[in-house]
Structures are given as structure tokens and as C-alpha cells.
Symmetry: none
Subunit: 513 residues, 2 copies
């Protein structure tokens, strides 16, 4: 989460980071690098919150930081103290391993840099933390001064580092070079890791080359996020290791969650997922079948490099969207609906989901809206606590925004005004005020996030807008979705779903009021 | 252009293809595969038009097609005739080389498939065309039945094919496998080529592995277009060959056109270029400088794998949360401002940027707003083409959204109404209509994307909203930012910046109107 967040324009709040960490844990990764405590208040807060709130099943949290400053004792360096006090069981220490960088960026001697590595690792080990050492600019440093680069690796290992990670920080390497350098560096006797960037389009291949040469630790980012061209894509790397090189690196069955998780995280980062992303992209198993349709039907494996279900993706033959019957059935079961016992109904729901996803809805990120859709299909009518007559929003410069909502509920006609810091907020206030007397639970609901995305990039006026709204009742949170040419209309749809879902979740019977 | 156009959603007209061909020729590629004449009217028309209109300086046009049908003489096959009559000096013939595909998709015998390859190559050679043979599913075929796969290569070479291209059609290979198979296949004695897809994220690395093993011909697509996960990206492959492996494959100086050409073609395909694309992406040489800014100033090559000018790209410094004086100074220089010669002013700008980023602004993603801030500090006043008096937005259910904007410009008072599909869109329309007569350039501007984020300085009501707006004039695009408790107010700020920056960029002097 630290290096991925270096991507231009990517900004994660503390809550976003907690969500991403849970997704990474679901994927079953070994370690999650949460940030650099002490370097900025947000990362410090993340580790404090994580220690209280984050329950990880598979992953271990790692804090990132640098070796001690030149001329200071590790125990006295406040940045080292922040790592010690982060509560993270693992610390990833970045160390310079390229002689020119030691002189130019650290402005210290080669000897002092080695001492900085040794002292910091020993200090943190003595304090009970596991340490990984990231050798920054290692490959360029190896070319410039092999002996010194290897000396940094040796120093880190001898001081007690669990793994020494070789970083292609500038990303300029090709796989055959990585393979040679890793094989040579193994002579030091340390356990090695690889950290690759995609500047030559080879981040994943470089990671594979390192593992084949003997590295046992691989660093990557979900969706290939990262500075410049990005880091090695985590899912592609892991899927290659498991499916191509036959190494099991994730818990049994976890890889099948990869597509869902990659897409869910892209909703959090607000970076649309690439359709061409290996393994997880919506186009990655799509075939313009034409000529081969019948052969594909006889033996699909002749036309795909793996069974897409292994990574939770689907083969697509036509222009249809990806939701298949099996997915819907599974998802329904997860939500407590036995959708599968009626084939006709299952077919109808699948068709409806496909049609809506084609319009721009995304149920992957909006479980609550999906559950309302399921409830509608299973129970014959959409759960409804009120009938909307109309709404209106007025916003003026140097004033707030005002919304008027008119609706009917429990035989009453209600017309209420709400104020807010924007159209969605004002509508939310008006709507909740209108029904609060009838449904007191809504007083506990609050809108904690909303995201707006234009789907048809490049067409300005005619574009479709998708709004995702996250609502909390102080205990749980749920996400709803609205889609339409008008942003406020789409927001309203998501808002109505948000309150409806919340009331249903609280067990409020429809029509009680 | 044929395999790239297999990308889901990508559609090129005949005129588009002529434009793309000229761009590829500017890049200096050896061969351009124009399409499959005879398979559809558009491709047939393209070759007819190309023969008349397309003057290529470096490239040679190739027509793609299949070996003759089973049981027919090559001379009598109408699809082979279309290749012969296309006027293309080169024909790329696709041939089956995987035994199961011969049986299942072609429904013929292994012997007849060899005869189809031999006859078709010999026939086209006799008619004076050069022939490349693309061995489809070669790598999977090699694994399934090595002897047969090699026999297809041998048959093609002996029949007179210039190059036999080994295709990883399903894209499942890793570089070490490609290297082994290519090295072994060279024993046949043919000149070999490589055609790689990106399903394991290794299309470029697989191409490099093949070249290192002895292949002398590489097929790729601009911007990595192609079916599923795409083909090997042409620019990344070629830049790696030239800059990493020291092989000159393009005419002198052509590589420096790569970024321009990659972006120009993405305008034609209407697929926004990826910011993370190796070599040509706008983020590919962007640095969140912070800590390292001073070292970057001394020796930029320590922080980049190549000089970006070699591929026609630029180093960019991102003004991020960690912005220090050195970053601001460097960034200013990049934008043409000598900020560094006045230490007091530099300090003032740095403090202001830090304070604004703390409020929620992000200049990293909004270069245009940053440039306006710099201009304000350097020139004593913010560039201003109009004075806003007030604005208002009204949105109602089942209707559109309407905005009113009142402003003064060039001594006139203007009050204008605009409609749109949401508040931002309506304000944008109203604002542009208001000033269009005074500043005709704004008619060419259009809003191409906007992103809204709630920043988590609080919950719901007190939250701060950040709006990023991307605007284009059809040639360039720029991003502006607005921040505030009111979403519409923040959008308005970003909109005003967007038009102001655009007018300034177009050289319109302030106060001309």
C-alpha cells in the first residue's frame, strides 16, 4: 500500500487503507506494507488504527522506513522510534546499496552507510521486530560497484535481516540481467527478495526471473499500481507462480478471489481497472470468437492459457458482460438467498444484472444494491419504505446547498427541506429528516463516502455517471450504486437504496410506519 | 493494425487505418500488417486505397491471410487470390502448427495441413510476393507435439517463406520457456520471428527472450493493443532492443518520435493512453521528488533508467504532499519560471503549496492549477479573464439541471443560463456560453473527466470535497483542482481554473476582450 500509493494521482485515506488491507488479506498475501509511520500523520494514524481495528487472518503488517540517519544512534533516531512504536510485527527498512546514491543523496561515506544498515537492523531485531531490508537501486548499484552492493546485502543479513530485497528502483532491467544478478548475489548466503518496476514492461517477468534464480520473496502491488510505470502487478505475479511455475504461494482457493479483489480495490482507489490487465481484466478471457466458436465450444482450453475460473474470471464469447449464472447463484447464497433452485428465475436475474452492468452499474462494489435487486426478484417487489414524489436541489455561490424532498410514507405526505455542503449531502439530509419520525433508525445512518465517475470518457455531455455511496450506521457500512446521465439523479438512486438497505438490515418491516 | 484491431471495442475506419499507417511509417517500422483483404470489404478497400494514396518511406505493407483451404489448389482459392491481388508486397500467412487445432478447427489431416502451407507459400512466391508464415499456437503446439510443430516451420521455410513467426497465440508462455523453444526451433534452419501476447504480463519480455535466443523479426502493436490482454507493445519492445540490448532497429532519430506517435494513435483509436505505459506514458518519468529533489538536480540519471528525451518523453516532478523548496524550484523551471532566484518568494510559494495541500488540494494531479498559482506569485496577480458575480444551480427530479452564471468581463455584465446533465456540466455550459463571444477559444474546450472525492477530515457533513476536472481543447488536456466543504463550490473553482488556464495556454492576453 505504500509503494502503490506512489502512483501519480492516487490518494488513499486512512479508512481506504484499512479497506485495502482487508482485501489484501482476503487474497492471502503474506505481508502488507502499510505505510511509513513517522513520515506523515496519516501513516502514523493508520498503524495506530490498524493495531486496534484490523484483524488479519493471513497477512502480517509491515511498517516501511529508512535506516537511521548518519551520525546518530539507531535508538536515538526519532524516525526509527516511530517504526519501533508502530506496533507492526515486521519492519521493511530501505537501505542505499548504490555507492553514488550513498554519496549524493545521503551525503555520507560508504562505511557509515554500512553502519547505518547494521545498527538499525540490530536495534529493531533486539526490540523484537522482524526486519526486511530493501536494497534501493540494487541492480544499478551492482553494475556500478558490485563489491559494495554485495557488502550491503551481507551486512543486512549478518545483522539479522530475515530477507534482503533487491530493488530495481529505476526499473531499467530485463529478465536475463535480473536472473544473472540474483544468482550471483545468492553467493552472499542471504535469503533474497525481488522488488521490480515496469519501466521496460518487464516487472512481472523480472520477478519471475528472480524467483527462478532463487529469490523466495516477491513484492508487488495490486493492479500494478506504483510510481511511474508501476510496480510488478501482484495478481499477475502470483498467478504466474501458482499456475505456470507450480508453486503454491496463497492459501488454498484464494487465487479464485483475485478478480473480485482487484476490481474492488480499483473502486477504492477510484482508478478504473484496465480491461486488458492479465488474469483479472474484463477482456482478458474475451474472445471475438467468429471462426473458432464451434472449436471453442468443443474444447475451450485450446483457446485460453488457463481456466479463467482459477483466478475468478470468466471466459466471454460475445459482447455480453461477465456476470454468469454460477456467480449470481454463489453470490445469492452468500447473502442468504437460494437463487439456484429455480432455473428460470436464475436466468432472469442473470440477464437483468448483465443488462444493468452494460448500462454502467457495478454490483461488485455495491453489495447492498445487489441485495435489494435479489430481494426484489425473490420476493416479487422491491422493498420500499416510502414513495418519492419529487426532489429539487438549489445551490448558490457563497451560500450552502438546499434540497427539497416530497414523498409519501405510511399514508402521510411529507415535504421537507435539507441543507448540506453539496447536492448529495443536502438530499441525504432532507430525505432522512423526512422519514426520521416514522423510521427512527435512519438517525443513526450517515453518508461516509461517495465517489463519482464519468464512464464514457471523452464524450463530456452525453457521458453516463456512476455514483457509489457508502453509508454507515456506526457499526456496519454498506455501498449502493446509482447510474444515469444526470449525476444528481444517479446520486438520488444510490441514496434511496442506501436508506432502504439500512432499514431492511435493521430488521424494520416494510410498511410498519 | 490487424491484430491490434482485435482489441475489444476498438474499431478503425479505412481512413483511420491510413492515418495509423502513416504514423507507424514515421516511427520507422519495417512492416505494417494492414488487414485481411478478402475477409471483409473494409480491409479490401484499405489495400486498394493504400496502393493509390499511401506513400511509405520506411515501411512495407503486408497483407494478412490464411493458407489455402483443404482440398483446393492455392491458385483456385478465392481468399488466396485476394492476397495475391491486394497489391501488398508482403503476405503474412497464418498456418496451424498445433496438431489438435489442425484436427479440431481445420478438420483436416496433419499431412494436408503441411501441403496447404507448402502450396500457398510456393504459389505466392511464384507470383512475386514475399511471404511471412505465422505459426499459430506454435508454443502450445510445440509442447503437445514438438515434431509436428517443427515440421510446419520446416515446410514453410523450404517452400520459400522469408521468416517463420512463432506465435504464442494464447499468451500463456513465460520468457524462459520462449527462449528454450526458440533456441531449439532454430535447428530447423529457418529465420524466425516472435509474436507474443500479454496474458502472463510477459509479452515484451517474451519478445526479448526470443530475440536473445536468435529470432530476427518481432511483431508488436502500438500501445499494446490487441485481443484479450493485448499484443507486445511495439514502442516498449523497440526501445528495449535499442536502448537496453544495443540493437539499432529503427532509422536514426525515429525513436525520439515514439511518445508523440503513441499519443497521436491513441487519439485515432479513441482509447485514452495509459499514464503508466512504459517509455511513452505521461507518468513514466514522473517523480514524487520530496526527499530526493536535491539529488535529482545534481544528477537526474541516478533516478531514471534512460534519458526520457530518447523516446520523446519528459521528466516531470510531481508536487506532492512532501513538496519542498527544491521540488517547487525544479517544477517551476519545468514550466518555464525561474522561481529559484528569489529565496523569499520561493519560501512563500512552498509554504502556500503546503498549506493548500493540507486543506486537501493535490497539485500533483493538477498541473494546471499549480501553474496558475505560480503565475500569480511570479506576476503579482492571478491571471483573470472575468470577474464572477454569482452562480446558481437548480436540479429537479425528472428534469435536467440548470445553472445561472453572472459575471463581468471586458466592461460588460453577462448573465447566462446553461443546462446539463449535472451541476458541474450545467455550470460549465453556462460559463462557457457567457464568455464565448469575448474569448472564442473556449468553444474548443470541453470537459472530458471529473472526479469527486470526499476527504476524511471528518464525517459526512463536515467533510471536505476535492474535485479534479480534466479539460481538453482537442489537442492537449489539462487538470485543475478545487477544494471546499461544498462540492459545487469546489467544482466551480476547478472550472474557473480550467478555462483560465486554457485561455492562457492559447496565448490569449488577459484583458484583451
Amino acid at each position: 500500500m505504500r509503494d502503490g500509493a506512489q502512483q501519480e494521482g492516487l490518494n488513499l485515506s486512512v479508512q481506504d487503507k484499512l479497506h485495502v488491507a482487508r482485501h489484501l488479506d482476503d487474497l492471502g498475501v503474506g505481508f502488507i506494507e502499510g505505510g511509513w509511520p513517522g513520515s506523515n500523520p496519516k501513516d502514523t494514524e493508520f498503524f495506530a488504527l490498524a493495531a486496534k481495528e484490523l484483524e488479519l487472518r493471513t497477512a502480517t503488517l509491515a511498517a516501511f522506513g529508512a535506516t537511521r540517519r548518519a551520525g546518530l544512534r539507531a535508538a536515538d533516531d526519532p524516525l526509527v522510534a516511530a517504526l519501533r512504536e508502530s506496533g507492526a510485527p515486521v519492519v521493511t527498512l530501505v537501505a542505499k546499496s548504490h555507492d553514488r546514491h550513498v554519496e549524493l543523496a545521503l551525503r555520507t561515506t560508504l562505511e557509515e552507510n554500512l553502519a547505518m544498515v547494521r545498527d538499525t537492523v540490530e536495534h529493531l531485531r533486539a526490540e523484537g521486530q522482524r526486519v526486511f531490508v530493501d536494497c534501493e537501486h540494487f541492480f544499478d548499484g551492482y553494475v556500478a560497484n558490485r563489491a559494495y552492493a554485495l557488502e550491503v546485502v551481507r551486512t543486512a543479513a549478518e545483522a539479522g535481516a530475515d530477507v534482503v530485497v533487491l530493488c530495481d528502483t529505476n526499473g531499467g532491467m530485463l529478465p536475463h540481467q535480473v536472473e544473472e544478478v540474483v544468482a550471483d548475489t545468492l553467493s552472499v548466503g542471504a535469503r533474497l527478495g525481488i522488488h521490480a518496476h515496469n519501466d521496460t514492461g518487464c516487472a512481472v517477468a523480472n520477478s519471475m526471473a528472480a524467483v527462478r534464480a532463487g529469490a523466495t520473496h516477491l513484492q508487488g502491488c495490486l493492479n500494478g499500481y506504483g510510481e511511474r510505470t508501476g510496480n510488478a502487478d501482484l495478481v499477475t505475479s502470483v498467478a504466474n507462480l501458482e499456475l505456470k511455475l507450480g508453486m503454491q504461494v496463497l492459501p488454498e482457493g484464494a487465487l479464485a478471489e483475485a478478480t473480485r479483489i482487484a476490481h474492488a480495490v480499483s473502486e477504492i482507489t477510484n482508478y478504473p481497472p484496465s480491461a486488458r490487465q492479465p488474469y483479472t481484466g474484463v477482456s482478458s478471457f474475451a474472445h471475438k470468437a467468429g471462426l473458432h466458436a464451434s472449436a471453442i465450444r468443443v474444447d475451450p482450453d485450446l483457446y485460453q492459457h488457463i481456466d479463467p475460473a482459477l483466478v475468478g474470471n470468466d471466459m466471454r464469447l460475445l459482447v455480453s458482460e461477465m456476470a454468469g449464472r454460477a456467480t449470481i447463484e454463489l453470490k445469492g447464497r452468500e447473502l442468504g438467498y437460494d437463487v439456484g433452485d429455480d432455473a428460470e428465475r436464475l436466468g432472469r436475474i442473470t440477464e437483468r444484472v448483465k443488462a444493468m452492468e452494460q448500462q454502467g452499474y457495478t454490483f461488485e462494489a455495491a453489495d447492498a444494491s445487489f441485495e435489494l435487486l435479489l430481494a426484489e426478484e425473490m420476493e416479487g417487489a422491491r422493498p420500499s419504505y416510502f414513495d418519492v414524489e419529487s426532489w429539487r436541489v438549489l445551490a448558490e455561490s457563497s451560500r450552502g446547498t438546499e434540497a427539497t424532498v416530497k414523498l409519501r410514507a405510511a399514508g402521510q405526505r411529507l415535504a421537507v427541506i435539507g441543507e448540506g455542503n453539496g447536492p448529495v449531502n443536502a438530499l441525504d439530509h432532507a430525505l432522512r429528516q423526512a422519514i426520521e419520525q416514522l423510521y427512527p433508525d435512519v438517525a443513526r445512518f450517515h453518508l461516509i463516502d461517495f465517489r463519482v465517475r464519468i464512464l464514457d470518457q471523452g464524450h463530456g455531455t452525453d457521458a453516463v455517471t456512476r455514483v457509489l455511496i457508502e453509508t454507515s450506521d456506526g457499526k456496519d457500512a454498506w455501498v449502493t450504486v446509482g447510474v444515469g446521465p444526470n449525476m444528481i439523479e444517479a446520486s438520488w438512486e444510490a441514496l434511496v437504496d442506501a436508506l432502504t438497505y439500512g432499514l431492511r438490515r435493521h430488521g424494520v418491516p416494510v410498511g410498519t410506519a
